[in-house]
Symmetry: C2
Subunit: 357 residues, 2 copies
């Protein structure tokens, strides 16, 4: 793939920006978006930044019928001295390509698209909010656009990147949540698409989500699809437990998403000499440790919440109350460190951040 010239068409009707402390997640979008097309003969071509506007697609466009689509989610943060930082964006574009491979979508040139993204953010820099806990959410996604009902990979695709200023994920700061261990519905299984960020993985969880909400839980903890025994991930987050001084997170087995926050936390814990292990962990093992009083902390990790402490787990009528519903010391330290690096308040010794010039 050759470096292609980026076309830029500026919007003539700039929208008013929302107050940065009162923004519902993912409903407000900036003035411009990035678009790039793929056709078999041309490869990925015509990268462009254009005014944010509706898409026009044939009703028989493949995206509407067979779900050939992948996406990513990352954030731009406003740091000291009005610098704008991205957190490990290279990891997101690598993962986008891994997801695409699973869905038979042609890969993009990661560096090229990352350059175009920084250009887009630089144009939209005034949209990056500054209140603590806020950021500019970045959603790259690829959709199959060929007009055909044949069950086969599309011959054409569209990559788009849209930007949405988002408020603090937690109203009222970091707050431990209650989570239901799902025992009927399955998110993913070996050989399936669990490791890919693809649309179908998300709506397939809505029924379990509704069941969890109904019983007063904030989210779902998924077990493996084979035996409904091993812990996989929470809603759209990875999960960690601190058990008897050791941090445990389920190992990547093909059905768990390889989270970038997850990876960063493992790296931080290793640097801090806190024991951390990626391995299979069954909900029974966790419950046993809980009964023995060994479960010290639990937290979910992901781009949206960074760290989401878990205060309570409900499993087949059994309750595990973790750390007395309080934020654990380690959870708080990880949250402070990662958000500190993301916003330039903590020194970035890992070269995780990329400044948008």
């Amino acid at each position: 793939m050759n470096e292609q010239k980026l076309e830029i068409v500026k919007s003539k009707n700039l929208k008013p920006k929302p107050q940065s402390d009162q923004i519902p997640f993912g409903r407000t979008f900036t003035d411009h978006m990035f678009v790039m097309d793929y056709e078999v003969e041309k490869g990925w071509h015509d990268p462009r930044i254009v005014p944010y506007e509706p898409l026009t697609l044939d009703p028989a466009a493949m995206i509407f019928h067979y779900g050939q689509t992948v996406f990513e989610g990352l954030k731009a943060y406003r740091a000291e001295e009005d610098r704008i930082l991205l957190f490990r964006p290279d990891m997101n574009f690598q993962r986008l390509n891994r997801s695409s491979e699973r869905l038979s979508i042609p890969p993009i040139d990661e560096d090229q698209v990352m350059n175009h993204l920084t250009e887009l953010i630089s144009i939209e820099k005034d949209w990056v909010p500054s209140t603590e806990g806020t950021s500019l959410y970045i959603r790259p996604f690829i959709i199959a656009t060929e007009t055909s009902l044949a069950v086969a990979p599309s011959q054409s695709y569209k990559l788009m990147i849209i930007l949405s200023p988002v408020g603090s994920y937690f109203t009222g700061g970091l707050r431990p949540v209650t989570i239901n261990v799902e025992d009927q519905f399955t998110r993913a299984v070996k050989g399936g698409t669990g490791m890919a960020k693809t649309a179908g993985n998300y709506s397939s969880g809505y029924q379990a989500q509704a069941k969890a909400y109904k019983e007063g839980n904030a989210d779902v903890l998924w077990l493996d699809g084979m035996e409904k025994k091993y812990i996989e991930e929470v809603g759209s987050m990875n999960i960690f437990f601190k058990i008897n001084g050791e941090v445990v997170t389920p190992e990547l087995n093909g059905s768990i998403l390889k989270g970038i926050t997850r990876m960063s936390i493992i790296e931080l814990l290793k640097k801090w000499d806190i024991p951390v292990v990626e391995r299979k962990i069954s909900v029974e093992e966790l419950y046993k440790a809980y009964e023995e009083g060994l479960v010290e902390e639990a937290f979910g990790t992901g781009t949206a919440a960074v760290i989401s402490p878990v205060g309570e787990l409900n499993w087949l009528g059994r309750k595990m109350i973790i750390n007395d519903h309080q934020i654990g010391e380690l959870s708080q330290k990880l949250y402070d460190t990662i958000t500190g690096i993301q916003t330039g308040k903590v020194e970035d010794r890992h070269e995780w951040t990329l400044e948008v010039k």
Copy 2:
């Protein structure tokens, strides 16, 4: 849901109709389509038949991000005396609602939409091709249309029905196919979405499909997602085996699609007093029966092909050649009977067909 008045807007630019014996599957669409919208406050509303035209959606419309969508596939056939027949359309709309339930999409009024569909087909009646083996393929589908990146059920949806004249599924008539038994990738698992006709189930099979094609197979036979042991279904078809005089098809276990052709075949076999059983069948059991010379026929069933005889199965380097690559007697009889009923040549004793007036 109350019966709502159907609005009809006729197209002013009618397209030329293709030659009915040379139509690639799912690429040509008729002049009109059916559309209906859902909003939480209004329910399903504004049913209308309008000129076939592109859809305009916000790039943040939920369909592009979380795959909340379901679809159906059925056909209209041109019978003797230019009558137009649908084959068990009530089953398709029942299944659409079952799929919707799994994907947290609000149900439609099945009878109402079926009435609107017959109205649409009656307007497009000249598009129903007449050559043997051809038909008008009908694709109802529902997509989530809310503009939001929140991982939650959409507050608005669009139901559309588009029509596509299709040629004979088999060039050169009924022809046994070679199929690869997939041992790595998984289509579906208990607790997942396998029983629903939803987009994500299809693109997740493209890698296995490509692998099968590469090794000279026409399709994929999926095994269960838990043990990779039990036979589930073929590509987008259900599967049947005639073993030692008895017809066996995998039982519906939550991860297999409840095919309407499958159901009709079971009913026909029962009427004909041919032993038929729905049960778990492992690929090992099948192979053992094959080695003993007991596998007499194999065939896939589905709306597209009706009956697709299987001449060869490839499983981990082992080959099962079925009925010497010839069409089996039972496969042929089932094909002739079902296509005969669909096209009005065979008496419809089951009241399976619905005439479009």
